[in-house]
């Protein structure tokens, strides 16, 4: 009997890196953007008259919230693309999954920075206000979405069930956004759209938005490639199992 080759966990013969020349340039741009954000957010932008230095949390809190919305919308669009027969491809599913993971990360940062900001300006870390509650609900919804992606089954089963959930979950995004208009919240109304932010403060926010957008794209590209490799590894494992059964059959 021919001995079965011993598997070596963690090694693959197809060890491609997830980086390309483009992502390396993009990575450098992300670092530059974040350095600019530190420079403007911490040093060059002025204090606010009422909130003093506490206003600087704005330059992380708002961009991460916007990027989380964007990430969840991308998850919704990619999920719709997967469900649509003409464009059905697991690549869309992996983009949806990767984008949701990054969205959860950004939304987590939004909640933590918002809580710290709340303590500084409102005097409390948390209250069950409409904006805060809907944001936290959105956060746990997408944690649930990621859990559903890991329930097992074939890649296609995973893609189909998570796509349906993503299309439902994305409906929460406008609910969160308009919660400050539909209810009487403690959370402030929009500042940028209503022109209540100007000068270096607005510019620093813009720098934060650019830096976090680049970071989002960089993370998305890498993460969806990692997910593709994980799927390939799963498929390869199935091939090994089939080959072993065939080998056993041939010996009988």
């Amino acid at each position: 009997m021919t001995p079965t080759p011993t598997p070596s966990p963690g090694r693959t013969t197809d060890a491609r890196p997830t980086g390309t020349r483009f992502t390396r340039v993009l990575g450098a741009a992300v670092l530059l953007g974040l350095a600019w954000l530190v420079l403007f957010g911490l040093f060059l932008s002025p204090n606010d008259e009422k909130q003093k230095a506490g206003v600087r949390i704005l330059y992380i809190h708002v961009p991460t919230a916007w990027l989380a919305y964007l990430a969840f919308i991308v998850t919704g669009i990619a999920s719709a693309a997967y469900l649509f027969k003409r464009t059905r491809s697991l690549t869309w599913d992996r983009i949806a999954g990767a984008s949701a993971e990054i969205g959860v990360l950004f939304m987590g940062i939004t909640l933590v920075t918002g809580s710290l900001w709340g303590r500084i300006s409102w005097g409390i870390f948390w209250t069950w206000d409409s904006r805060l509650t809907t944001t936290a609900f959105l956060f746990v919804t997408y944690i649930g979405y990621l859990a559903v992606r890991n329930l097992g089954g074939t890649h296609q089963q995973r893609a189909r069930r998570s796509a349906i959930i993503a299309l439902l979950a994305v409906l929460e995004v406008p609910l969160v956004h308009f919660s400050v208009k539909w209810w009487r919240p403690l959370h402030q109304q929009e500042s940028v759209a209503e022109g209540k932010l100007s000068g270096l403060m607005l510019f620093s926010l813009f720098v934060g938005l650019i830096a976090f957008t680049l970071l989002y794209v960089w993370l998305l590209l890498h993460r969806q490639r990692v997910l593709a490799m994980e799927d390939a590894l799963d498929d390869q494992g199935l091939d090994v199992a089939l080959a072993e059964r065939r080998a056993e059959g041939a010996q009988v």
């Binding site: 080759p5 011993t6 598997p7 070596s8 966990p9 963690g10 693959t12 013969t13 002025p46 204090n47 606010d48 008259e49 009422k50 909130q51 003093k52 206003v55 303590r119 500084i120 300006s121 409102w122 005097g123 409390i124 209250t127 069950w128 206000d129 409409s130 509650t133 936290a136 609900f137 746990v140 919804t141 944690i143 649930g144 990621l146 859990a147 559903v148 992606r149 890991n150 329930l151 097992g152 009487r184 403690l186 402030q188 109304q189 929009e190 500042s191 209540k196 932010l197 100007s198 403060m201 994980e230 590894l233 390869q236 494992g237 091939d239 090994v240 080959a243 072993e244 065939r246 080998a247």
Partner: protein, 164 residues
């Protein structure tokens, strides 16, 4: 048709099987967490959110009932004694004296909007709001701290009694 076994790469089995029980546990926690959030939100909403001018006028904003009241802290109204911290808030030209146990935190100051949770009580010579919690409700306007704006800031502070 060639049915011979394919050449196998000897590393492919290394990947651990996924653990659906972990995903199911997370899903369970998410469902419980979501439910708790809805309950907490509804509990919070039980206390009506009233402007000062709505107290005793609007349904749900009755004197003697637990509510959340919103108004702007009036200039010169803040007083602190050993037993209480008091100030006056106004909204739409109506004023309400507030009494709380301790100094509010955050960026509490004169001329800033606040939300106070508690109960309006009729003390015979007028209604006083006994607050349990004061939350500063800063608006959506951001202004750079600048010495040049001091005059304008002072003018705004002087005019705050008419705000709300």
């Amino acid at each position: 048709m060639d049915l011979s076994p394919r050449e196998v790469v000897p590393t492919a089995q290394g990947r651990k099987r996924k653990r659906p029980w972990l995903a199911m546990s997370v899903l369970g926690l998410v469902l419980v967490g979501g439910g708790v959030m809805v309950v907490m939100f509804l509990n919070n909403a039980v206390d009506y959110y009233c402007n000062v001018d709505e107290v005793g006028v609007k349904d749900g904003c009755d004197v003697g009932r637990n509510i959340r009241i919103q108004g702007v802290v009036q200039e010169g109204s803040v007083e602190q004694t050993a037993a209480e911290y008091s100030f006056v808030i106004a909204y739409n030209g109506k004023e309400m004296p507030i009494s709380v146990g301790s100094q509010p935190s955050g960026i509490f100051q004169e001329c800033i909007p606040v939300v106070v949770r508690g109960q309006a009580v009729d003390e015979g010579d007028g209604v006083v709001f006994l607050g349990d919690e004061v939350i500063v409700k800063h608006d959506n306007e951001y202004d750079a701290e600048n010495a040049d704006r001091l005059e304008q800031s002072n003018a705004e502070a002087a005019a705050c009694s008419q705000k709300g």
